[in-house]
Amino acid sequence: MSSTEAPERFEYLQSLVTEFQDTDSEEAKEQVLANLANFAYDPKNMEYLRELQVPDLFLDMLTEENQNFVEFGMGGLCNLSMDPECREVILQSGGISLVTNCLSNRREETVLSAVTTLMNLATPATRPQISEPGILQCMLRFSLAESPRLRNLAAVFLQDCCSEEQVRQAQQQTEGRQTAVGIPLPKE
């Protein structure tokens, strides 16, 4: 697709969104969703996707039964949330709680996207919400996971998104528990 024709780009993205909304085929929906999520990786498209309300579309996917929808939607949000303006839109739509729920997803890609998205959503205003004990304990568990990617992301989260004191408190709370109550690690 040529990069110089901006209106055609917008129209193409619009036709993807339209197909997603109109089609009954799950398979077609998955393909289009993946397309949109991949387009969200390129900063050139972020403004158009915002105008087409695609951040909200992605957020809607997080509560779907179809796990591909969840994974692709979460991936799209991971890509979009890097952009400051998209971040605002996601926050205004209650993104933090929706994304936090994805931390307990069984698919690793979904969880990785969720952790990264939460880091992207961390601003001075949202930091208290993002570094809640529940989330920190989850990250502590992730930092001991077998998956190197998950370990690394969790480590970066704990180092960058909260204070050492908060991490210590969360650690104490985890150790105090007898049973492994909490967010299970995802399976591959």
């Binding site: 990069s3 110089t4 024709e5 901006a6 036709s15 993807l16 197909e19 398979e27 077609a28 998955e30 393909q31 289009v32 993946a34 397309n35 999520a37 991949n38 990786y41 390129d42 900063p43 050139k44 972020m46 403004e47 591909n68 994974e71 692709f72 991936g75 799209g76 991971c78 890509n79 890097m82 952009d83 400051p84 303006e85 890609e109 990785l112 996207s113 990264t116 880091m119 992207n120 930092s143 001991l144 998956s147 190197p148 990617r149 370990r151 690394n152 992301l153 480590a155 970066v156 180092q159 960058d160 591959e188």
Partner: protein
């Protein structure tokens, strides 16, 4: 052999931490999607997969390398896309018979991206390469830097888009208000719009690099102006993710704005007669820069107000020529690249020809 020394070490101290690395699901090639409607069918059939920053990495794994001792050639090929920091064979990774697997760490993610795009599914010495990202080889610091780089790139892109938008809006306003818009305003608007849409890579100023070949710069001993000129070597990447030192010359910008002047037609002859060849160089080609500098000096000496030869704030007259690519021809890495290409060509050429290499001189009929 070059070995990777700072791999992510397993956190647990179990005795089996030296086990065979897991064949992660995201390394496997997925089945290609065949049911896409025409309007969204790409040029190449692809699987349904979403790429996020977590799947990408400056660590690449190359599978399917024929086990015939071509590691050096493989790394040379990788180096065409950007600096390779480290590499090693992954003996412990399951490989098809008669093939090897390599881990290659690039200095930049954009280089790895370009290498993957260009090398995946390509044939190489009789085999087919399968190239994929291997972010599990990152250290925590690698991951953090990757995310930070990505965020600042997106933020930069957003800022420049906002600036372009403001510029376009401001210019459009002035176009609406003024009755006779100057040609330069129109030109700058259209350039803004195209450059906004064309730029994909991080080095926004190099958007024209892939379209126009660089002009050869004169050899070093020839031009004293180069020492005077204010320049900075900026390590940058072109769209291909190839790292090079871009020659960023403040005066160069002046020259480029002046290059729209059509009086440089017979520069070689003209300047030779004016300046004469520099002593001790024996090089005939006089650069345009010197020509314009000398003209500038002459104008300043004569005290004439110059419409063309002044500063950067003069309005452009006529279409603006694209800036010559800012490439430092003295950089050693270019010789390395040329050397690599030459040696590859030599190897290709070393396959015996069926025809004789030399053409026999045909007997010419003299009339």
């Amino acid at each position: 052999m070059h070995f990777l020394t700072n791999m992510a070490a397993p956190v647990n101290n179990r005795s089996d931490c030296w086990r065979v690395p897991e064949v992660y699901k995201h390394h496997e090639q997925q089945r290609v999607c065949i049911s896409r409607p025409k309007y969204r069918e790409g040029r190449k059939a692809k699987a349904v997969k979403v790429y996020t920053i977590n799947l990408e990495s400056r660590y690449l794994m190359v599978q399917g390398v024929p086990a015939i001792g071509v590691m050096t050639e493989l790394i040379q090929l990788c180096a065409l896309y950007g600096s390779v920091e480290e590499y090693r064979p992954l003996d412990e990774y399951p490989a098809e018979e008669f093939t090897e697997v390599y881990l290659v760490k690039f200095q930049k993610l954009t280089s790895a991206r370009a290498a993957k795009r260009n090398m995946d599914e390509k044939s190489f010495y009789g085999g087919v390469l399968h190239v994929c990202y291997v972010p599990e080889y990152e250290t925590v610091e690698d991951t953090r830097l990757k995310l930070q780089d990505r965020r600042s790139y997106i933020a930069r892109a957003a800022r420049s888009r906002a600036k372009q938008r403001e510029k376009t809006e401001a210019t459009q306003e002035s176009l609406v208000l003024s009755e006779a818009p100057t040609s330069s305003d129109k030109i700058s608007t259209s350039r803004d719009v195209t450059s906004r849409n064309e730029d994909t890579g991080e080095a926004l100023s190099l958007s024209h690099y892939s379209e126009f070949p660089p002009l050869p710069l004169p050899p070093q001993e020839h031009c004293s102006f180069r020492q005077k000129s204010h320049r900075r070597l900026v390590p940058t990447e072109d769209k291909m993710g190839t790292l090079h030192n871009a020659f960023y010359n403040v005066e160069q910008q002046q020259v480029d704005s002046l290059s729209s002047n059509p009086t440089t037609s017979n520069r070689e002859q003209g300047t030779e007669s004016r300046l004469g060849p520099n002593p001790g160089s024996g090089v005939r080609f006089i650069p345009r820069i010197t020509n314009l500098e000398s003209r500038k000096r002459k104008v300043e000496e004569s005290g004439e107000p110059a419409a063309n030869v002044s500063g950067e704030n003069e309005p452009l007259i006529g279409p603006k020529l694209p800036e010559a690519a800012k490439l430092d021809m003295e950089d050693e890495s270019l010789n390395t690249t040329v050397g690599l290409i030459r040696s590859t060509m030599k190897q290709v050429g070393s396959v015996p020809d069926l025809k004789t290499a030399k053409k026999k001189a045909k007997p010419r009929r003299r009339i």
